[in-house]
């Protein structure tokens, strides 16, 4: 690590590059077998993440069906203006997690916030895996001048503190829609993925099966797509989960500062920010979105750690 220059590497990227080298055994075959063999913390985390994904999609569907689906309500509906709900109610059958200071249903707002976090996390993973993964695999395989210049470019972006660069970029945009936020965070995710893909591709390009393919005269592009990329992917997917945790916090921070998706669209961060002004009366509207955000990040980290170990083991077994 030190000899590649710490100037530019984020600590988490460094940890990942180090973890690639570690070894162990891979228990469990197939999708369900793997989950069955996972430690209980990873199992619980997978359960929680499935719930969040399901809930986020459900909330979005409900939104499209004009809030006519059961179990959650219109996240903007203010019961004190249009109904009989009072502000800061405790949890009840009608409002599972109570209401906030404007008498809006906390549960439905949290599920709508889950959608924002989900989209941002997926966008970051998609940009990172597709663009960063391809670029990293490419430069890790062909090396030479391409590698030097592309990695130098990536290193410059990694040289900025992530939050500060994100703030500066977001501040230039006049409209901050979910699409814009996802795009900016997605593009900023590319360098870290490129580094990890490159580190993996470097290791893989020395393996016997790649040499064998070269020996029989396979085209370079075919080797890249058939041999290198598929073997780089597991490490990237594992990293995507840890990165998703980071990205969800980043979006939460941005929302908390009022610089993410604009109000009244609920996000976990802006719910916390709105509710914190009334922290002297009640902590509950702060507590619920904080709990969901923290549990989601914790779950992403747990599953990410677990997958990362598996990916490291699998690549060492190639």
């Amino acid at each position: 690590m030190a000899d590649t220059g710490i100037v530019t590497a984020g600590a988490d990227v460094a940890a990942h590059e180090a973890a690639i080298v570690k070894q162990g055994k891979v228990p469990g075959r197939g999708f369900w077998g793997a989950i069955k063999a996972a430690p209980w913390s990873a199992k619980l985390s997978i359960f929680w993440l499935s719930f969040i994904i399901f809930a986020a999609v459900y909330a979005k569907l409900n939104n499209w069906f004009d809030y006519s689906l059961p179990l959650i309500q219109d996240p903007y509906y203010q019961g004190n203006l249009f109904g009989t709900t009072r502000p800061t109610e405790s949890p009840s059958k009608a409002h599972w997690l109570g209401t906030d200071v404007l008498a809006r249903d906390t549960w439905s707002r949290i599920l709508n916030g889950a959608w924002v976090s989900l989209v941002v996390a997926l966008a970051s993973a998609a940009f990172g895996i597709v663009i960063g993964g391809l670029l990293g695999s490419f430069v890790g395989y062909v090396k030479g001048r391409w590698e030097t210049s592309i990695m130098a470019g990536m290193d410059v972006i990694l040289a900025f503190p992530a939050l500060v660069l994100l703030l500066a970029l977001v501040s230039i945009w006049e409209v901050r829609s979910l699409a814009v936020i996802s795009l900016v965070i997605g593009v900023l995710s590319i360098p870290a993925y490129t580094r990890i893909a490159r580190a993996n591709a470097l290791a893989i390009s020395n393996r016997e099966f790649v040499q064998a393919a070269q020996a029989i005269g396979t085209k370079k592009s075919t080797i890249l797509l058939r041999e290198i990329v598929p073997n780089v992917l597991p490490a990237l997917f594992a990293y995507a989960l840890v990165q998703a945790g980071f990205v969800v916090v980043l979006e939460g921070t941005l929302s908390f500062l009022g610089l993410s998706v604009q109000l009244p669209e609920p996000t976990w961060g802006n719910m916390i920010n709105e509710a914190r002004r009334d922290i002297r009366q009640t902590i509950m509207p702060v507590f619920w979105p904080s709990l969901f955000l923290t549990l989601t990040v914790l779950s992403l980290n747990q599953v990410g750690d677990w997958l990362q170990q598996r990916a490291a083991v699998r690549s060492s077994a190639l």
Binding site: G5, F160, L167, A168, E174, G245, I279, S290, N301
Partner: protein, 317 residues
């Protein structure tokens, strides 16, 4: 040694140039006439003012010359003047950076105070109940975003028990040590959570490796007490990567205090950056961004060089 040193310094200069160029170009990428964006919405737009700004910024020069001019004055300490508040950016930085710096430093110290015992205990009792409990607690600490930690600290220490103030800042130089500590403690504690978990995990992992070394075994064989071995023989060699990461996270903290400064209403660089963003005060955004990024890059290089001094294997390689 000299060769390695020079190449690191060259790389530092190149990275700084690239970072400053990107920050500079952000303003160029603004949609529409830059003068329009630079002026606050309610400012008068007479032809004289517009011409003045165009001349100030050299907007009619080619882009590379504008960059060189900007870089030249930035190097001599002039990062431009806000069109919103009429304050020079360098003055803003001089005024506000000490707060951010103190927060980052204090947070690092708090993190170490908790992380060192946690890491040592985890390594010493590897796989036992206490190790598993600390590991689990550290995973949770790592997953709590700092603004959430800050909010719950405010709720606990200022709403429930009125021990610390929730907002404001007493300067060390004006108000004395205790008043300064009172205002700095909660924000630093909130910031310390994630670095603490990172440090403790790293120290634990490295120390587990060190404890398996032969010289530890021979120290045991000599009949030395465990505590003596842990602190006298095992601790120092286990802190190599910890030191690097302390440097890295310290650099990251300088940029990471933004939310905490905003939450606790502290007069640091981060909260100024947010107010500049809300006022669309591009010159200040640019100045603060390039300053924080440059500090980050420089600190990382220093860490890199220190590592070089400490570890002879790298010095020779």
């Amino acid at each position: 040694m000299i060769k390695v040193l020079l190449s690191r310094l060259l790389r530092l200069v190149l990275t700084l140039l690239a970072v400053s160029f990107i920050t500079f170009m952000m303003v160029k990428l603004l949609p529409g006439d830059p003068v329009n964006t630079l002026l606050p919405p309610d400012a008068p737009r007479t032809p004289e003012i517009v011409a003045q700004i165009r001349a100030d910024l050299g907007l009619d020069d080619p882009v590379w010359q504008q960059y060189l001019d900007w870089l030249g004055s930035a190097l001599s300490g002039d990062l431009g003047t806000s069109y919103v508040t009429d304050q020079p950016v360098s003055e803003i930085i001089k005024d506000r950076f000490p707060v951010t710096f103190e927060l980052a430093l204090f947070a690092t110290l708090i993190a170490l105070v908790f992380a060192i015992p946690a890491g040592i205990v985890g390594a010493y009792r590897e796989g036992r109940m206490i190790d598993k409990t600390t590991s689990a607690a550290l995973s949770v600490a790592l997953s709590i975003p700092n603004f959430i930690a800050g909010l719950f600290l405010i709720w606990l220490f200022t709403v429930q028990f009125q021990i610390f103030p929730s907002t404001g800042w007493s300067r060390l130089t004006d108000a004395g040590l205790w008043a300064n500590f009172e205002t700095a403690f909660l924000p630093s504690l909130a910031l310390a959570l994630a670095p603490m978990a990172i440090y403790a995990r790293l120290l634990r992992a490295d120390m587990i490796g060190v404890l398996k070394e032969d010289y530890i075994l021979s120290a045991r064989a000599k009949g030395l007490r465990d505590r003596y071995i842990l602190f006298r023989h095992a601790f120092r060699p286990s802190t190599m990567s910890l030191m690097t990461v302390i440097g890295l996270t310290f650099g990251a903290l300088l940029g990471g205090t933004v939310v905490i400064e905003q939450l606790f209403a502290l007069p640091g660089l981060g909260s100024r950056l947010i107010s500049a963003i809300n006022q669309r005060d591009i010159i200040v955004i640019q100045g603060i961004t390039v300053f924080i990024a440059a500090m980050y890059v420089i600190i990382n290089t220093i860490v890199d060089l220190l590592y070089l001094v400490v570890d002879p294997r790298i010095r020779k390689g």
